[in-house]
Symmetry: C2
Subunit: 333 residues, 2 copies
Amino acid sequence: MDRLTALQVFRQVAELNSFAEAGRRLGLSPPAISKNIAELEADLGVRLINRTTRRMALTEEGRIYLEHVTQGLDALARADQVLGPIKTAPSGTLRVSAPMTVTLTRLSAAMPAFLSRYPDLKLDLHLDDRRVDIVREGFDLAIRGSDNLEDSSLVARKLAIMPHVICAAPSYFEKHGRPKTPADLKAANCIRFSLSGHADIWEFRKDGRAERIAIDGRYSVSSSLAVRDALRAGFGVSLIPYLYVESDLKAGRLQSALDDWDKVETTLYAVYPARQHLAPKIRVFLDFLIEEFSRDKEKPFVPPRREGSAKRGVGEATDAENQAEILPAISSP
Amino acid sequence: MDRLTALQVFRQVAELNSFAEAGRRLGLSPPAISKNIAELEADLGVRLINRTTRRMALTEEGRIYLEHVTQGLDALARADQVLGPIKTAPSGTLRVSAPMTVTLTRLSAAMPAFLSRYPDLKLDLHLDDRRVDIVREGFDLAIRGSDNLEDSSLVARKLAIMPHVICAAPSYFEKHGRPKTPADLKAANCIRFSLSGHADIWEFRKDGRAERIAIDGRYSVSSSLAVRDALRAGFGVSLIPYLYVESDLKAGRLQSALDDWDKVETTLYAVYPARQHLAPKIRVFLDFLIEEFSRDKEKPFVPPRREGSAKRGVGEATDAENQAEILPAISSP
DNA sequence: AGACATTATTTACTAGAAGAGAATGGTGAG
DNA sequence: CTCACCATTCTCTTCTAGTAAATAATGTCT
């Protein structure tokens, strides 16, 4: 039997002093009320209500039981009520894990605006280029690049595509020469972002032809910002998201190379545990991310590339592609 | 869905941090756990637990919900626990309604012994010769004679049979003559116990013949003790339970008449609301009553009566007859 | 690395229960 | 004294809660 409804029936009957009236209030037929009370009594082995067809009164046991039951039911009702506002408006603490560099270069400036839009929301933003276990560490959402994607049973929402460029400082190219083909990179001092999924092998495509170059170099570091610093210093060449070096390229501090080859595109995803019953705080942050990255549509930047094969820039993914999708596990070959 | 089990499942899962383990503890299969959680979440519209196949963690909403749910479940569990001792040992307050005279003459002397046998029990004994509505007035048990029995849907347990005698003071008989036949009573000054079911018509039987005598008299009173006082004073004649006048008859203060006729027998019943889930306090009092009235078996008193048709005295009912029985309504003809 | 074990979930499928409706017996009010 | 209402019983239907088997995912232990 459904104990909870039985208890609610008991309470209602006790308060109204009538089986029939309780039935009407609860939307149950008189037989249902009778049965519930009788089963509850049978279950407890205690008579709770003395009743004739015309009159009813709680037994002493019934009064004692009712007292505790009322407390319990009220507490449970309160539990449901507490969820009401949470279910509707963003509140509580939002724990987000995001990669360091893309956040600092593209996102963190907008965070205060986001937070002031939702006054009841607290944000706990962890900048970490590692791929964190968002369930174990209790994150509501993580931003990660496709090179770091592995979890399945999580939902991933595409945020942006980040084209990469091969670049170095003009001084570096002057000293070591500007690579004309991907193979030229084998001899170059390649600065590697160690946490990237494609740290040691850089892949290039052109006219359906793919070249996978195992690169090497003297500097491997776990932050793209450090990579950029090294590039600026003319220490070597690297494959790096265009976004991170956009201003450097425009200012001439860095120069790109191999522009007529297609390079890796890291797709940026928002990853969260489930699509069902998405908490408003997450929903709202997700919308913020989408809105923020789609801002590039208005002032699109297009990385230098060869003619006739223009790729979409960051935030230019189509609506269809932007549908969240369950990611299949990426099985390593 | 059964919300209560869903909540218990949720709690257990949260505490053990494992669906499978919770299932084992609760005696449910893993799918049942999954379904319960999923349905609870669907019902609330809130995700409570983030989970992969390998790891799970409460969401912030889950933690908040759990807190209240735990309180509620604990309160409900306490409700059940509180009933435990009550269900086992007699405790609380026992409210009993009993007729004045039989209680004072036969029962009240033994009450202290009964109460000291059950230290946790309080007795609220209402001496009232009216037929009270035991449900409306919240009595656990009522003692009443068969002449006062009318309730149905109540359980009645036979306690004793109370034979009646026709008697008066010797002085009365000397002055007004001793009745030889029931019809002689029509002329007598009959003292009536007004609350009796047979106050105005006294019935006699002999050899299958029944005589119903409509009697009259100058004194009608609502207490049998007052009737006895009047008898002792030689004011009139009355039909009265033998028990009430036993000592008077033995001492010669009163004398019986019409001994060769069978007279009314009031059967004494214990009446209580239900046989199912009989509270120990009631069970124990019922046993006390039965034991107390059965004491007469050892020193039986037999009212004076004609030879060859000896009736059973108080407490001599057979075991089979002592089975509690649901009383049919006594429909007046 | 790879086989294994454990875990959460999905999909049928089934036993059981919860509730409605009709009928019954009982009770108070007008 | 009739009427209306009430609690209960019985029967029946529907729906649900559970299991078993199968699947997918993931951590662990040689």
